[in-house]
């Protein structure tokens, strides 16, 4: 059970880091100058094009050569978070940009400041639009916490592996492990789906197909 807690910790910290980095990255992509936009585009492209396992190895085995050394848990969180930030920034950017320019113009022409328009008009809609893809990304991060196995973090999968070597019951053990991941992923998705439903407004979001 301890392994499941470690998995949850990896998931929350990794996804959380992804949010904390992803939001400013999305802003930079939308409101930044050419240089900032270019740098962010490169960052995203790189992190989205390298397997997570390679990112983890780079952080854990590569960086110590430059004198930067992380414990396995920290390296795993960093890897998950950095990679997720590249995807999340796309999610947030898409959500913000999907709100029509004319709504922003309307807000400004009522006398709102840019900041008021962002918080009262853009953000409430962007959050609703971002929830479904965000739930998707959360499920991916949760499942990818299992790659921390390779750095020796004793998370759910590695603990299952230990149990298996003790009991010699691989089928039972990995079915149980799979079931635990399944339950976690489904809970996260239903939780977010419930939030989405609670915030639902006619015409915002994809299901209805009208705008």
């Amino acid at each position: 059970m301890e392994g499941a807690l470690v998995t949850l910790r990896l998931f929350i910290a990794g996804l959380g880091l992804g949010v904390v980095l992803g939001i400013p990255l999305a802003f930079g992509q939308i409101y930044g100058n050419k240089l900032i936009r270019g740098l962010i585009a490169v960052y995203e492209r790189v992190l989205r094009s390298i397997p997570l396992l390679v990112i983890l190895f780079l952080l854990y085995y590569g960086l110590p050569l430059l004198g930067i050394r992380f414990p396995p848990m920290v390296a795993a969180i960093l890897g998950l978070g950095l990679r997720s930030s590249a995807y999340q920034s796309q999610i947030f950017r898409g959500a913000i940009l999907s709100i029509s320019e004319s709504q922003l113009k309307a807000a400004l022409s009522l006398g709102m400041t840019g900041i008021q328009a962002f918080f009262h008009i853009i953000l409430p809609q962007a959050i609703r639009i971002a929830i479904p893809p965000f739930a998707n990304e959360a499920a991916i991060v949760l499942k990818d916490t299992s790659l921390a196995y390779a750095l020796g973090v004793i998370e759910l999968l590695r603990q299952g592996y230990y149990v298996m070597t003790n009991t010699a019951e691989p089928l039972a053990v990995f079915v149980a492990i799979g079931a635990i991941y399944f339950v976690m992923t489904v809970s996260i998705n239903t939780g977010l789906a419930r939030v989405e439903k609670g915030l639902k407004i006619p015409g915002i979001g994809v299901e209805e197909g009208i705008g």
């Binding site: 709100i99 029509s100 004319s102 709504q103 113009k105 309307a106 807000a107 400004l108 022409s109 009522l110 006398g111 709102m112 400041t113 008021q116 009262h120 008009i121 409430p124 809609q125 609703r128 407004i201 006619p202 015409g203 915002i204 209805e208 009208i210 705008g211």
Partner: protein, 252 residues
Amino acid sequence: MTEQMILRIEDLYKSFGDHEVLKGISLSLNKGETKVVVGPSGTGKSTMLNNINMLIPPDQGRIYLEDVDVTTTTDLTKIRQEIGFVFQDFGLFDHLTARDNVMIGLTRVKKMAGKEAAELAMLELRRVGLEKHAGQYPAELSGGQKQRVGIARALAMQPKLILFDEPTSALDPELIGEVLTVMKNLARDGMTMLIVSHEMGFARTVSDQIIFMENGVIVEQGSPEQLFNNPQQERTREFLFKLTDLYGEGGG
């Protein structure tokens, strides 16, 4: 009776890159006047309206709202509260009900108390015939109803002037009338309005002046009778004739 000047535009210029869109536009509106701007696509009509509330600042020229120079004011949000804007594609806030669309400027910008703002919002919705739809979201309204909410939202701010940028051109023909009726009532009630529109019937019967713009300049402006019956420029006659042909006389 002395006329009170609400808007005065002097010699407005605006370029996008090396494309000069406005080349010296001057016009003025007195309190209670309705003027309709017509002109071919790409002439700079929208650019001019966006200049007036500084959504797009002009390169050169002056814009006075009463005696405040809009182009140099330090409090733009204050000026924008006094200039209503009605958009071709409505620009309604999709996450807010009709009532909240009308209210949000009052509560967030004017810092009015919620109850008072809600009452005022309902009053403005009634004025455009939508009090029964106050609780509906934009996605649940027809185009004509959306545009009426857009007008109510502008009205609620008690503006000195309302700018309309082709308010009916995104609407199905059968929905245009309801929006024009609301605008006609506003004109009758003494609202000051600058309207870009190609609804010739409306322009002819409701406006005090028609302004014909082409290629970034005002070719001619004058009363509807003058422009329709006795235009000074051949180009004005041609264009108005073509428009009337295209859009008909309806909606007035």
